[in-house]
């Protein structure tokens, strides 16, 4: 127990970094996802193709490989230099973006065509129809799957410890090495992830209840 007590401040520090990366990456990923979903549904073939390639590449490669490609691969070209934090956030965002794009596309397509027709028949523009009618309904429907993907992305951040980001998992490794108490260390680290994810799912349930489809 003594071990847990001395290690705890370090874990909290790590957790802060984990949450910081998670929040920025998920928000960025969601924006990427929304843009890519709209590209995917656009009548313009070129936008379509770009969206499909992006989604397929991300879905068809492991997260670690994406991380190494961005952090080691792109940095080695020497026309840009990313620190590990930037590369880590970018990887999680780009990865989540592809999955969000598919979730959002499916959500938009699940809304009855009659909704679009009603809005357009009233003289609303395509953009107004999307922002006023389609997206608000689609987001409510998507909330459970968005939560799911967010949780996956949160867990993916633990892989960033591999490139040396001092997140919660990295702190676990450090504390294991200094305390020689891996059982306690990983129990506490696991519990901390669990609590955060549990709170996240409670928040999602609350939102779902607030925005129930009528």
């Amino acid at each position: 127990m003594e071990v847990a007590k001395t290690a705890f401040p370090f874990f909290l520090e790590g957790l802060q970094i984990t949450l910081y990366i998670f929040i920025i990456a998920v928000i960025a990923g969601f924006i990427i996802g929304l843009i890519v979903a709209l590209m995917r549904l656009s009548p313009l073939k070129i936008l379509n193709a770009i969206a499909i390639v992006y989604i397929d590449v991300i879905r068809g490669t492991p997260f670690i490989v994406q991380l190494f490609f961005i952090y080691f691969g792109l940095n080695s070209l020497e026309w840009l230099s990313m620190d590990r934090m930037y590369a880590g956030i970018l990887t999680v965002a780009i990865n989540a973006g592809a999955y969000f794009a598919e979730i959002i596309r499916a959500g938009i397509q699940s809304i009855d065509k009659g909704q679009t027709e009603a809005a357009r028949s009233l003289g609303m523009t395509g953009r107004q129809t999307m922002t006023q009618i389609i997206l608000p309904q689609a987001f409510r429907r998507m909330l459970p799957t968005i939560t799911n993907q967010s949780i996956i992305s949160l867990k993916d951040t633990s892989l960033l410890s591999i490139i040396g980001i001092a997140d919660l998992t990295q702190q676990g490794q450090v504390q294991q090495a200094t305390t020689f108490e891996p059982f306690i260390v990983w129990t506490v680290v696991g519990l901390m992830y669990f609590v955060v994810i549990y709170l996240l799912s409670l928040l999602a349930k609350f939102l779902e209840r607030r925005f129930t489809l009528r």
């Binding site: 909704q115 003289g123 609303m124």
Partner: protein, 242 residues
């Protein structure tokens, strides 16, 4: 001058030609009912009038705007053409009042207070003012359709299109919706109504079009079309539905 002029309208879905050659003129304040068997193209015809369907050939002129011209601002034309759908298509995430005020505020840029006042007047007219703060999911089918009519009227359209407005309703709800439509007709609204309600077509319609196989087979004033149909297809259709 006629408010709607359709000339040699054609519409295909792929290789399936649904409208083959439709020409018709509709005058201001006229109530035209369109009847015919399912698959005859009557709903497609109606949906071409506000270009919810891309038009394959011919011209459709709505209130002097040729909507087959790709340069026409179709949204501007649609502001003047209200539409009521078989399945209502109310916005389920908005209250009844918001459903009615949305387009005037977003499209016509009407002040909120003014839009609200007008919406309440219209809801009063369709007998649903007390439902203003409810959501569509809390209404019956007939109530939904009356809200949908109010929503379309809120744009102060010159023309109203009705696409089988009572087909999805329980029989006891049909009367309320038809009563609202009849009132609208009496007030002088230009209306095109695709319907299976022959009683309504006979009583309220100024003219009835019978469509079959992508053509207007026969058109006449209701009493003549219903009581003395000339065409064999009209006769056989009417003998089955009357």
């Amino acid at each position: 001058m006629s408010i709607i002029e359709v000339k040699q309208l054609k519409k295909s879905f792929g290789s399936n030609e649904v409208l083959k050659d439709i020409s018709v003129e509709i005058q201001e304040k006229e109530v035209v009912c369109v009847i015919g068997p399912s698959g005859s193209g009557k709903s497609t015809f109606l949906r071409c009038l506000n270009r919810l369907e891309d038009i394959t050939g011919g011209t459709v002129v709505i209130d002097t705007h040729d909507i087959t011209n790709p340069k026409v601002d179709i949204n501007k034309v649609r502001e003047e053409v209200g539409m009521v759908f078989q399945h209502f298509n109310l916005f389920p995430h908005k209250t009844v009042l918001e459903n009615v005020t949305l387009a005037p505020m977003k499209v016509r840029k009407t002040e909120k207070s003014q839009a609200k006042q007008r919406a309440l007047e219209l809801l009063d007219k369709v007998g649903l003012r007390e439902k203003a703060d409810n959501y569509p999911g809390e209404l019956s089918g007939g109530q939904k359709q009356r809200v949908a009519i109010a929503r379309a009227l809120a744009m102060n359209p010159k023309i109203m299109l009705f696409d089988e407005p009572t087909s999805a309703l329980d029989p006891e709800m049909v009367g309320d919706v038809l009563a609202v439509m009849k009132q609208l007709a009496l007030e002088g609204m230009t209306m095109i109504v695709v319907t299976h309600e022959m009683g309504f077509a006979r009583e309220v319609g100024d003219r009835v079009l019978f469509m079959d196989g992508g053509f207007i087979v026969e058109e006449n004033i209701p009493s003549l079309l219903f009581d003395a149909p000339q065409h064999e297809r009209t006769q056989s259709f009417l003998s089955k539905v009357l």
